[in-house]
Amino acid sequence: MTAETAYGGYWNRILRVNLTDGSHRIEELDDGFMRTYLGGRSLGLFFLLKETAPNIDPLSPENLLILANGALTGAPGPAIPRFTAVAKSPLTGGLAASEAGGFWGPELKFAGFDALIVEGRSESPVYLWVTNDTVEIRSADSIWGMGAKPAQESIREEVGEKRARVLIIGQAGENLVRYANLGNDLGHFNGRNGLGAVMGSKNLKAVAVKGSKKLPIVDPDTLKSISKEFAKTFKDNPIGNSLFEYGTTIGVNAMMAGGALPTNNWDKGILEGGENLFCNKYNEEILIDRKGCFACPIRCKRVVAVTKGDITVDPDYGGPEYETLAALGSNVGVNDLVTVAKANELANHYGMDSISLGMAISFAVKCFEEELLTVLDTGGMELSFGNGEMLLKLIEMTAHRKDFGDVLAEGQALMAKKIGKGSEKYTIVVKGQEVPMHDIRTKTGVGLGYVVSDIGADHLVAPHDSFFTTEDTWSFGEARKLGLTTAVDAFELTEQKAKNFVIISRYARMLDIIGGCFFGFAPRGPMPVDTMLAMIRAITGWDVTIDELLQAGDRGIVLSRIYNFREGFSKDDDQLPDKYTENMVEGPFEGTLAINREEFYRYRDHYYRLMGWNTENAYPTSQHIRELGLEEFL
């Protein structure tokens, strides 16, 4: 095979750059690699496991930063624009892996690469300029210290390519904020786990890409027909229509109605004046446009513009989605939509994960309320819930690690160690990562996801329980094709729920690694399972079945567990946060829904069993590792 050999949808080729010595090289993947691993997080884990020693410092040159496309990424089909950033996490000490959509992943494909591996550390700030089959390392001296937008503009001007796609860190990544993120096109993020800090630790400001190679597709006519039909019909499906109309912002309305909108560091479930953050208000007052990702017609991303009093919000940074509306809104007690839109813009400009950022701030306010922190700790600032001015100031301080911002930049778990005095009881984390904005008492399958997730608490481990509560729905009909047989109510936790979760979590992982979007495909998205299969076959030429794809998802989950246990994680890290063992405090479920920890762990253990893991230590059995063809990682 030559370096120019192409497969349907991918090149079998990776670009490797060493920032310590300034070298680069192109490597070919073994035949069959992509069909086995599918790309994304699994591709990254393969190299992370092989090429990094256990227990390295995540912010040292020994860590790798791997930017890996899925096998489908870049093909002109709906909802397949995604790539994964992979490294060891400075937030959790385990796997860092976070997917992003947009246009950057496809552009890397058009330059002739499935993935980019960055090694070492540059002596001075640099950025990478990747074009067809090659890369240059360029000085970033003049843009170090800039936020995402001015830095991106400067790079595009310097390379003379207005349409270069730029993956970038802001000041937060440079300053090693433990939850700094990577952004592309200012509105798409590898948000979680502190991957921006890893990039910053390498003195790497950005990776700009422009390619013009034609990605081969095995059956372009079929792909074209699938894309055309999807664009025409996705809004006929209520799930697709809602994603277009409201994106994820409808979550604020739905969660608050259930008394399950995280408010004031999760002390409450209903935000006073929370109606101001509702999706209808959002659409009326600040929404000016919708944006999408490469080749996807759904356009679930928001664009907002605000000029009100002292506050202006730049539309180029997109608009807040549900997680941000809650994390930087209700969870810090702020009910002013304009302030939350500004907080979102600042988080994107400085490059920080809005979930962990909001949770770090809410935790600090809670500690202040409980007198575990005082003005002596905060540099004279009085902290309180509902204070928008304080919120915006703390975001700036965190990005620069200025004064008390240096504490906030550590995230809840390390903040609690620093603050001491029993403050740990106000943290809500799993494996050191702050929980997202979904109350697992109202959807217990998401709770299993939080607890067993490889990257710390995460809400995208599997489609949520609400889609599998009745059997005569379109979503459940689609889920049957994956192997689900029996619906379970959202609040229930049963062996059947654990069984369903095994299947849908393998499916979700498969979508992640192949380049698919959580919102694109049934049961959570509007594309039926059979159409998805036809699309994969049309792009790759693989005569693939659902069983093979689910096994690839399983392989990815097992690889993660092998990595995390190598880094010192154990069953004890699959812990349910105490918060969810308490009853709901407001709304229609007030006084109910507390999760019994022992019972929860029984079903967690059942999940291990069904996954082919040992229930004693929550580690895959040797037999299962062999069945997945992962003997070399035994």
């Binding site: 209520p238 799930i239 809602s242 109309e245 409201y246 994820t248 409808i250 979550g251 309305n253 739905a254 969660m255 109605a257 259930g258 509702f278 999706c279 209808n280 679930c300 989605e321 549900y322 997680e323 979904h438 998401v446 809400h459 995208l460 489609p463 949520h464 329980d465 609400s466 889609f467 509560t469 009745t470 005569d472 729905t473 379109w474 979503s475 619906a487 109510d489 959202a490 609040f491 959580f518 919102f519 959570r524 229609p588 479920f589």
Partner: protein, 76 residues
């Protein structure tokens, strides 16, 4: 009559209206008449009491009942 209050995201079933009134009867029949699929529904409250997905199947709505229906939301 039964009052059905539809949350934002479901009002395309009611010409944009927040409330509609329907004859008393089985919950399934009522939502079918409004052309609301079970896929679309998240939380349902009847007289402020949550009604889970299984209970809905057997539920009979009586005159003066007030039903709140919220759209499904699942992550992201």
């Amino acid at each position: 009559m039964v009052t059905i209050r539809l949350a934002v995201g479901l009002r395309h079933h009611s010409d944009g209206k927040e409330e509609v009134w329907v004859e008393a009867g089985g919950f399934d029949a009522v939502v079918k008449k409004l052309r609301i699929a079970h896929d679309e529904m998240g939380m349902v409250l009847v007289n402020d009491r949550p009604v889970d997905s299984r209970e809905r199947r057997e539920l009979i709505l009586n005159d003066d009942d007030v039903v709140d229906i919220y759209p499904i939301f699942g992550g992201g």
